[in-house]
Structures are given as structure tokens and as C-alpha cells.
Symmetry: C2
Subunit: 315 residues, 2 copies
């Protein structure tokens, strides 16, 4: 059987089952945006890792080396933010074809460095090697009080569902690129995702925030992870989704790197108001958690509809 | 300028200089086998990451998926051992071509899992993606009392130099493979390196152990890292090197994943004896640290010789 038939999530399940034989102690592994390693005194490390491959995640002639360096770190900082943690270190592995120039490498490092500096995240190690295809792996570590960490499994029936920003812009950028338009604002969004680092830390500090994750595969795919982990369903009001262009791209498009969260209904309005005061932008309310199977009911002005949408996967 | 002209270590220096602007706090980054992140109560995390690329580090038709899975973790556990730390977690990223089968992936996981289980190291996360070339990145974390950690910079003039095992076997295996001999014991050594995990933990507990690192690029190349970091020179007695086959391969061959260490001369004999009692095998004494430039003087029965050897690099 080819691996593509098993699928990315099928293989992850296989890995999870096989490794269940090795005790993890107080640590928590696969299942959230980061692993969690508790420390003494109520603190914890979180750790995440992401691999970007030429031709799969990016086309080297479409993205500048600076953008690629920046994005390689951004997608990992987004995972740290999704836990409610503060990023503290990163590790960078790069397989570089022989033909790449020193100028390319300098541009890549400049982008990676700029985002590192913006959030004060030192690069503490890595690996460099030759390779036929440009491949980048970043591991990021973050720290937070254990009590501030947010998980996918914590959504409760009645929670209100929010996102931190406009969705579908990155997917629109990808469409624009594929249509040969390289200079649209959506292409910039696709190449320069903004990890919600300060927003994630602040949301981690709010006890009313129940479940949280980042939107990397698209709302339709990512929200189901929260629903499965929490054992509940959701209703999403399509007309409330802050769509960059079309609602379909906002729902199915990946790589927005906004945060998706559920809020205790009793405190939701107050937290949303405080968020707006803190960051000068809204938390967008898009739906509600309800009892039931881990599925999303899509509604348009209160009327259920049955679209044929799927999130992106890399297999 | 092509990156190959700058070289692997040249690029690492560029990275190090660029990131010097971001404070690392109490943490320690590039320069040892692992980064070090101190914790409360005198403990510390160590973190390392290694990338393996098809066609550069291995040929998929020469190594079984089980061996490749095992080796991917082994090279990282070796880095943790080289710091004197106990491995506690790993993270695995894999870019897999579409043509690979589920059977291949199961074999790979079985090898990775077997070594994980041997040392009780849970897999706490990772990433899976498609890719044209099989590429594997592992990040390993370890833990130790800060006082037990060993660095490259701690060698002192007069220290005696030791290695934990026979050298050059892996390089001989690579030669055998290139000559078409796939079943020699050296090929097995090349494909199944044994990370010196228990040895590294024990050596970390010995105050007489000064500098330590693992032998991944070959003695001639790796020892110079200790000399540069410690600001001293070394004399190596070629006839004392435990060579698998030729002395040249023992000195220049990579991927033995034995430990290289220096011992306070006053306690060296006693520690070596205790090591033999503990592990039933010798610590091999191969030379001495001396004042001078960070260079190795190779001697044959007390007579300096000037060979033309170089360690392997991946550029």
C-alpha cells in the first residue's frame, strides 16, 4: 500500500499507537500544536517542529529567500503561540542544494533573524547539510506557567468560538500566484504570515479561554481537531467569518496562522472587549460549541447548509 | 559565491555572528553537541537536532528502513550522551516521497521505536510531509544536573585524551558498501551505530572528565573543535588508537559515534579503571592535551609525522 492511501493523519495515528508503549511521564506528546514538558514550580516547556520542503510548501522562484527564512520560523512561533506560551529558542536545520549562493543563504538568514529579533527568540542550534531539494526544519521551544497552557481538548458545550484575524488571505495569495499575479496583497500574506505571538501569550493568561490552536490547514479541517479532542460538535455562522475574499477560501484555505479559540460563554464578551482594548483589533466570533458528534454544522443566517469543503493536507 | 565555497563551518560561523544580536540569557547555543537551557534547582535541558538526507547521508537501497529509523535517532542520542545528559524525548520530522509504501514506513518506525524503547525515550511530536527526497530531521532533548554537563571548551593542558571504542569501523563499512560488499561486519557498524548513552551519563557524573564530544566527523576533525574551544593543542599517539582496520580510517572516518573525552591526569587511571568495571570494556587512551595552537601533533611511537588527513564535511 502506498503511504498516500494511508494519509498524513493515518500515519500520525500509526506513530502514536506504536509509541504508546513508551511511558511519557508527566510530559504530553502528540495531539496539540506543541508537546508539553512540565518543569518545577508550575512552569512548562512547549516544543514544536515543522518541516518545509521545496516544491511542496514553497516554490523557490516565487518566494524571496528573506520571506522563506521568516516564514520558516513564523509557522513554528505560531504553534508556540497557539499553546499560550512565550517563545524562547529555535533550532534550524537546512538541506541546501549545491547551486544555492551565499547571497541566497544571507537573505534567508536575514529573514529568519528579523523575526527572531522581533520576538527576542535566540537561535540555539541546528544542522546544515547538502541536499538535492531545499528542505528546512525548525524546532521552536516556548515557556509558560503550566496553568496558562491551552489545549485542543478543553472546549466545552456552550463555548463561543473565535478567531484572531481575517481568514483565507493566504489561500487567495496562493491562487493569485498560480494565476501568475505575484504582486497582490494576498501574495504578501501568503509569504509573510504574522504569528500571533503576543496575542497567544495574552490569551493564555485568560482563564476564560478554553481550547486553542492555530489555523494552519484551514478552519474546516482544524476545528475538527478541537471537536474530536473535546468530544463535542460546533455550529459555525458562515456570514460571521471574517473572509479575506471568498467564504470558501476562508473556510478551506490553509496557512493563515491566526488563532482559533473557544471562550467560556459567561466571560466571552468581556474577554473580547479586553482583547480589543489590548490589541486594537477584534476577536471575531464565528460560532458556538454544542453537544454531539465531532462535526461542524455550517449555517448561513441560521439555516444549515451542506458544503463540500475539505482542509488541505500534505499527502 | 556558491555556498560550497564558504563551506559548512563557514556558514555556521555566519549564522553565529548574525544571531549574536539576540540575547540568549542563561542559555547556551551553537558550539557544543547540544544547546543548554538551565532550569531551576541546578538542572538543565540539552537540545540537539540533526538532518539526514537521501543521497547525502544514506542510500535508500543500501540501508533497510529499520536501520535508517534506528540510525536517525541514534545520531541524536549520541549528541545528548556527549553532553553527559540522559535523553528524555525526541521529535521526528519526515519528508517522504509519494512512492514509499506503508511497509517501508512501518519498518522505519519499528527501528526508531526499538532504540526509543531501549533507552525509554518517548516520541513527543514531529511533522510528516511529502517530498521528492526522503529527508529526516530529529530533535532530541536530554536532562542532567548542570554540574554534570560536559563541554568542548573545558580541556586543560596535561589532560589525557580517551575514546570509548574502536574507530573507523563505520568508514570501513562505507568503503565496503562502495566496493559492493554489503554483508561485512563493518557495514553493520555503519548502519547500526551504538550511541554511548549509558557511558555518556556515567562520564557526566565524573568530575575528572573535563571536555567531551561525540565522534561524528572523525577524530582528526572533531578533536580540533575541542582544541579550538579550549585554546590548547594535542599530541595523539597513532599506535594507541583502537583502529577497526586502518589507522587512516580510524582517524579520518566519520560516524563512529563513540565519545571523545579528556580526563584530569591526576584521576585518569582511576576513572578508566572504574569505567572498565562499570561497562566491561576499556576507555582507550590515545594522547594528551598540551599548550599551543589548536592543532594535533600526530606521533608514531614518539616520533612526529605529518599525514594529509581531513575529517569529512557535508559540503
Amino acid at each position: 500500500m502506498e503511504l498516500s492511501e494511508l494519509g498524513e493523519f493515518g500515519w500520525i495515528d500509526t506513530i502514536r499507537r506504536r509509541f504508546a508503549s513508551i511511558p511519557v511521564g508527566a510530559n504530553q506528546g502528540i495531539g496539540d500544536d506543541c508537546a508539553v514538558l512540565p518543569l518545577a514550580e508550575g512552569q512548562a516547556w512547549v516544543v514544536t517542529t515543522d518541516m518545509l520542503v521545496e516544491g511542496v510548501h514553497f516554490l523557490p522562484d516565487r518566494i524571496t529567500p528573506y520571506q522563506l527564512g521568516r516564514k520558516s520560523l513564523a509557522v513554528n512561533l505560531s504553534d508556540v503561540a497557539a499553546m499560550g506560551a512565550t517563545p524562547v529558542a529555535s533550532f534550524l536545520s537546512v538541506a541546501l542544494p549545491h547551486s544555492y549562493t551565499v547571497e541566497w543563504a544571507d537573505g534567508f538568514l536575514a529573514g529568519y533573524h528579523a523575526l527572531s529579533e522581533a520576538f527576542g527568540v535566540p537561535l540555539l542550534g541546528g544542522d546544515t547539510t547538502a541536499g538535492d531539494r531545499l528542505t528546512i526544519n525548525v524546532t521552536a521551544m516556548g515557556k509558560a506557567p503550566l496553568a496558562h497552557l491551552k489545549y485542543r481538548r478543553s472546549a466545552c458545550v456552550g463555548d463561543r468560538i473565535f478567531v484572531t484575524g481575517v481568514l483565507g488571505g493566504s489561500a487567495q495569495g496562493l491562487c493569485d500566484l498560480q494565476a501568475g499575479h505575484v504582486d497582490t496583497p494576498y501574495v504578501a500574506l501568503h509569504h509573510d504570515p504574522q504569528p500571533q505571538v503576543r496575542e497567544g501569550i495574552w490569551l493564555g493568561q485568560q482563564p476564560a479561554v478554553r481550547a486553542m490552536m492555530d489555523l494552519s490547514d484551514g478552519l474546516a479541517s482544524d476545528l475538527v481537531h478541537i471537536l474530536r479532542a473535546s468530544g463535542c460538535g460546533a455550529v459555525i455562522a458562515l456570514e460571521q467569518i471574517p473572509a479575506a475574499t471568498s467564504v470558501e477560501l476562508a473556510v478551506t484555505g490553509g496557512e493563515d496562522y491566526q488563532l482559533l479559540l473557544t471562550l467560556d460563554a459567561r466571560d466571552a464578551s468581556e474577554v473580547a472587549q479586553q482583547y480589543r482594548n489590548q490589541f486594537g483589533k477584534p476577536l471575531y466570533e464565528i460560532g458556538v460549541i454544542r453537544q454531539g458528534a465531532p462535526q461542524i454544522e455550517w449555517q448561513e443566517r441560521g439555516v444549515p447548509i451542506t458544503p463540500d469543503w475539505r482542509g488541505f493536507t500534505h499527502f
